[in-house]
């Protein structure tokens, strides 16, 4: 059962859970399981076509899955899948987003 590490910014959508254990044999399956369990994460993670959104970085342990097999990368029991969005902080007065 690989573990998915949920970044703080997504935790409201996972009922506050920071780590979620899933069955999934691949990274893609693991993330889809997360999205099924917590539907609010689906749009954050996946595009309407079902691909991983480009602005979401996903790591298997410490390696970006993009340099491996993308969503088809195997995720074994002892593996950790890390979801990583970018951060820019700021006091909020000038955030242009």
């Amino acid at each position: 059962m690989p573990t998915i590490k949920v970044p703080p910014v997504l935790r409201p959508q996972t009922d506050g859970e920071a780590e979620v254990q899933v069955d999934g044999g691949t990274v893609g399956e693991a993330l889809r399981e997360l999205a099924d369990r917590h539907p609010a994460t689906k749009d954050q993670l996946f595009s309407p076509e079902g691909d991983l959104n480009r602005y979401v970085n996903v790591y298997l342990n410490d390696e970006d899955v993009r340099v491996m097999n993308g969503l088809d990368t195997s995720a074994a029991e002892a593996d950790t899948v890390v979801i990583l969005p970018a951060m820019a902080g700021g006091a909020g007065r000038f955030s242009r987003i």
């Binding site: 480009r54 979401v56 410490d62 390696e63 340099v67 820019a88 006091a91 909020g92």
Partner: protein, 399 residues
């Protein structure tokens, strides 16, 4: 040295002279003065007109004929008056004893209190070019480190570092870079100090509320370390000024509060081949990496596309633990210092994540993206005439 003998026994037996007597003998030519310390100490400060013969740890080398020969060479012969000195007067005493007992020297003295007492009594020392006596004292805890030394400290004193933002990350980074003696610190920020900043932007204080942040930062830095020149850039970085501003600096600290600036800075820094130490914080989390153009990935390799607003709230919206600014800002300062001195292993190709609630560090690998439009092999070569022209990163991020 007999095992039952103490240092005090030796010192009682050996001829001792004061620093003032040593100076007088040196000036009149009545004695040859010899430094017995390790080479690394010699680089720091020494007595002008001295000679050099290291006596080794605890004067262990003093027993060797090699040491005796070096002293003899400096003195002319073993009958001439010699005064040995070291840091505190211990090693030189033991060495003087050995030279007298075992090597046939007739007139060897040890300077009591060593160079430490010499300096306390205000006698002059020779320091390497570039550092005054005050600087030697100020940075002594740095120069004591073998990996730093006087050479490393001089590199810091001659370095020019630019900080994008004098806020959450810029504040602690600037403070510690100033303390370290980075010779020039540029600060880019057009904001004013607000009371809500003081929970984490510790370079400012209550009296400075309302003041421009760069001015407030400059005041704190000048009081902390007069060696540091602060250059205020009271503006926001944009496509029209980024090249001109970053051009004169060696390393850039990215503490920007928005994505368009980060992407713009990345583009410009890769064009000018400036290393960027980039960090970000939110709530209880922080990220940091060091981008050295073409040596490792760039910001765009790591984040090819900016996230939508709901995935990247500001601290003003979501909050941030004050100490996070300190932890990550200081990690940035640490990276800068390593880059400036060329020591250690900077976070090139490594993204360090810190979770302050669990007090856990996680390290992820970052690779150069072969398709990166900024630093990839297929990236456009920018001719000098186009250096100042950039894509619209506001639009890119609004996308």
């Amino acid at each position: 040295m007999a095992s039952t003998e103490t240092l005090d026994d030796i010192k009682a037996r050996v001829k001792q002279v004061t620093p003032a007597e040593t100076r007088a003998a040196l000036e009149s030519g009545d004695a040859v003065v010899i430094d017995t310390r390790d080479a690394v100490n010699r680089e720091d400060a020494r007595i002008e007109g001295d000679h050099y013969a290291p006596a080794g740890q605890g004067a262990s080398e003093a027993h060797s004929e090699e040491f005796a020969e070096r002293v003899e060479q400096a003195a002319g012969d073993r009958g001439r008056p010699v005064i040995l000195y070291c840091g505190a007067g211990n090693r030189s005493a033991v060495a003087a004893d050995v030279l007298t007992k075992d090597h046939g020297f007739k007139d060897v003295a040890s300077m009591s209190g060593g160079l430490t007492l010499w300096e306390i009594q205000g006698l002059p020392v020779v320091t390497p070019e570039g550092m005054s006596a005050e600087q030697r004292n100020r940075y002594s805890r740095h120069t004591l480190l073998p990996e730093v030394g006087v050479e490393g400290q001089l590199k810091m004193l001659n370095a020019k570092v630019l900080l994008i933002g004098a806020g959450g990350l810029g504040a602690p980074a600037a403070l510690y870079l100033a303390a370290a003696g980075i010779g020039r610190l540029g600060l880019v920020d057009d904001d004013e100090v607000d009371e809500s900043n003081l929970q984490r932007q510790v370079i400012h204080n209550t009296e400075r509320v309302g003041q421009p942040k760069t001015e407030s930062a400059r005041q704190t830095i000048e009081a902390l370390n007069p060696d540091v020149e602060v250059v205020e850039h009271r503006t926001r970085l944009d496509a029209t000024n980024v090249i001109d501003i970053i051009r004169d600096y060696d390393v850039i600290v990215d503490g920007a509060d928005n994505f368009p600036t980060r992407y713009l800075l990345n583009d410009a820094s890769v064009r000018l081949r400036k290393p960027v130490v980039s960090a970000s914080i939110l709530a209880f989390d922080g990220q940091i990496s060091t981008f050295v153009p073409f040596e490792g990935p760039c910001y765009r390799c790591l984040y090819p596309t900016p996230p939508p607003a709901e995935l990247a709230p500001s601290c003003g919206a979501a909050g941030v633990l004050g100490v996070m600014a300190g932890v990550m800002g200081l990690l940035q300062a640490n990276e800068v210092i390593k880059l400036v001195m060329g020591i250690g292993e900077p976070l090139i190709g490594r993204l360090l994540l810190y979770d302050s609630l669990g007090t856990r560090f996680t390290e992820l690998k970052v690779r150069r993206d072969p398709e990166c439009p900024i630093c990839g092999p297929g990236a456009q070569e920018i001719p000098e005439s186009e250096m100042g022209k950039f894509p619209d990163y506001e639009l890119f991020c609004a996308g």
